[in-house]
Symmetry: C2
Subunit: 234 residues, 2 copies
Amino acid sequence: MQLFYANDISGTIAAFSLEESGHCLRVLRMRKGDSLVFTNGNGSFFEGIITGDDPSAMTVTITGVREDEGKRHYSLHMAISPLKNEDRLEWFIEKAVEIGIDEITPLICSRTEKKRIRKERLASIILSAMKQSVKAYLPVLNEPVLFSEMIQGGFDGRKLIATCDPEVQRVAISNAFAPAENILILAGPEGDFTLEEVRIAMSEGFVPVHLGRSRLRTETAGVAACCSVYLANI
Amino acid sequence: MQLFYANDISGTIAAFSLEESGHCLRVLRMRKGDSLVFTNGNGSFFEGIITGDDPSAMTVTITGVREDEGKRHYSLHMAISPLKNEDRLEWFIEKAVEIGIDEITPLICSRTEKKRIRKERLASIILSAMKQSVKAYLPVLNEPVLFSEMIQGGFDGRKLIATCDPEVQRVAISNAFAPAENILILAGPEGDFTLEEVRIAMSEGFVPVHLGRSRLRTETAGVAACCSVYLANI
């Protein structure tokens, strides 16, 4: 099923972005009168008919709506360091959205080498992955946040920090939370968090977790962490 | 740690392949007398000193050996359909090796569109991922196998077939096996297995499993399946 996205809805009319309009009318060659399904990224799937075919600002008249039945009974927020290789962070984001994530925060740690992200590009990857996996909730992409700010920000749920440091007493991630819990997981850069960072996080209530004996790249660790939470809730 | 690979060992002398020799001597500019660590892909890590510096056929004199302490107490064999987009199968293979897999078989199903794989390229991805994740066991890459042959081949362990078909009574993958079990998982092409294929597999003892409500691409489903087995064993 081809799923579109529009969150600018007034009454029964949905206005589509430049990008979505162009994709629909120019690339897929859809026309006025054609029906389609779109989501507002906020839990609803809409059926509608194209009534305005301006390829830079398509409008659709809504004919039906249904709520997403697949809403998760937990939320997952991952704060992950940007990586030297942007492709790898992008890949993590695509897979995390497919598997299931609610919020992503680029996390600037002591050992983060590349502190900038291309937010528009990452947002577009999130949108594509949401549509491709036919989800009705658009994950939130936050602005990059310093590690010190992140750990002091309030979070109502289980707070985990993934680290490879054997000096830290860690529990296996799958034993660190229960199904249906809301979870925040911190994942560090290529060189891991510093021991100091792990200790500060622990003093703020974060539980250090490990992901087993395999030496995983940061983005693989991120996906494995998402899978752990996802699989515990299926 | 930089890990190299050589499995041609006679007494205390290891002979390196053209590719590994070039990487070591030309790219990394190592020299006669330098020490390095390599694995035979069969469970051992060796320390040695470069004693022959022919960049197409390096030789190393072994000075020490230790067995990999990280040997898994389970084995995982995944038979997965080649995908239309080769990058996505390659990505699956890289991640599966990082996370932990013993054997990969390209599986030719009714709906497999692309029946050929580039075996040398996939083998080189497996080798790189093994070295990058500092493992001492080289996963086996089999020749492509027809679905009908695969399900009739003997396997001493738990046999699972992952399918999205809601007509099939399926169990969640995480409930379909126990820790320490040897596992064979079949994963289908983009359009899934046919119902017929699932039924035939069931008659051969395969248990149909699902990977939750998220609609996952084949390669993501493959990685999630690997994670499920890996996480159940950490």
